[in-house]
Point group: C2
Chain length 265, copies 2
Amino acid sequence: LRIGIFDSGLGGLTVAASIKKEIPQAQLVYFGDTARVPYGPKSKGTIQRYAKQDANFLLSKHIDILVIACNTATSFALELLKKEYNLPIIGVVEPGVKAALTASKEAIIGIIGTIGTIKSNAYQEGISRFKPRATIIAKSCPLFVPLVEEGFLYHAVTRLIAEEYLDVLKRARIDTLVLACTHYPLLKPVIQDILGEDVRIVDSAIETAREVVSVASQMGLMPDTNQEPVHEFYLSDIDYSFSSVVLDELGLGDLNPVEVDIEEF
Amino acid sequence: LRIGIFDSGLGGLTVAASIKKEIPQAQLVYFGDTARVPYGPKSKGTIQRYAKQDANFLLSKHIDILVIACNTATSFALELLKKEYNLPIIGVVEPGVKAALTASKEAIIGIIGTIGTIKSNAYQEGISRFKPRATIIAKSCPLFVPLVEEGFLYHAVTRLIAEEYLDVLKRARIDTLVLACTHYPLLKPVIQDILGEDVRIVDSAIETAREVVSVASQMGLMPDTNQEPVHEFYLSDIDYSFSSVVLDELGLGDLNPVEVDIEEF
């Protein structure tokens, strides 16, 4: 079982780490578009063009399932990619939406993500479709990604910024919060602490990994080997700076990335 | 006089604003590579490829002088572009270096910039060449750009992060600080406040604008018209989100950008 995963950068590693936990025998083929990161503030047309190149590259690596481990790319390009390619494609939005609908009792649901993800309305529409009366409070948190990449996971300024961003959600008394950005699971401790233990936090990375298990099982692709898989790790810019704190936190260790000229795909 | 200016994004607008102040009659042709911003954490090869595309695009607009309003692109690609194109090309590094050498009395000079600019050693080498005994303290400040883009120019967390980043420079008792990133002039008030009034802050945007005046004069290109110039403003992604606080601060008003597919150049 070869699972292709792409993200705008290294945030999608939270999804890769979750899939690795669920299916330890699967071979992961990760592509991070570090030469063009971030996707968050960019437009739909730009993201669709990038997502097609990212998918083309991973398909050239003979994958069985494609995971879009990037909320912006899922919001803007999942439907387009599903139309163009003939393999199961899993985005991070739907698993997060489903989990939020299950978790929320009061139907007061918060969504946090990048500017692009929030503007795309993908989560808001997904939730409203099934729970039209749900109260949804969506808030973009543009500084969270750079804070994670700087390794400021438990830093005082991260807490201050999080308090400011989350204030509107707290005042609205949300009972469930969706982390609609793959970097955000790394900030879950501080977010949970600010919102209190009663608020259920939905981690799209974990939910997406569960969806991958379900699709792989349906297709009869679950590996029954005991062989240690060899993961492949590609970046469009291998010198991209990313705090090692994050890699340690994810338990992914050394990744030995290979560089890819993504504009050729 | 048509002056082409490119930057990885919108930070170079500080340079454009400074040039506009120095030569109000010049026509500015600005290109911001917002589809691939930021350049800071990316590698030399990637930045060189991007800088050539950016220059090719501006040359297609019949400019007389090319300004690289991006420290990372100047550090990695100025020499390359000078070899390939036959017009005056001005980067932001040399004007900043010259101004720092003039400003510093004790020759204890601080440099702050993105990870890419600091790693490139362009400023450090520039200063050492003329003042081999200078003490140079270089420090990357990766969160400054996202803080500016969020419009947090006078925010408490910006001050906290700045205090942390600048601590090593303060303890080294620098007498001069070079703002080696085009976003940073917008943080000058908080930086000056933390370092104290005795530390001279060199603003690369202002120094670069002065260099443009000097080159335009030498070439006999200084305009002697009273006509109001029409500026042109291009972005590789026109929907890029950028706090309007910044545009207000720069006095640039509405920019009405036109979108360019930069990968075609």
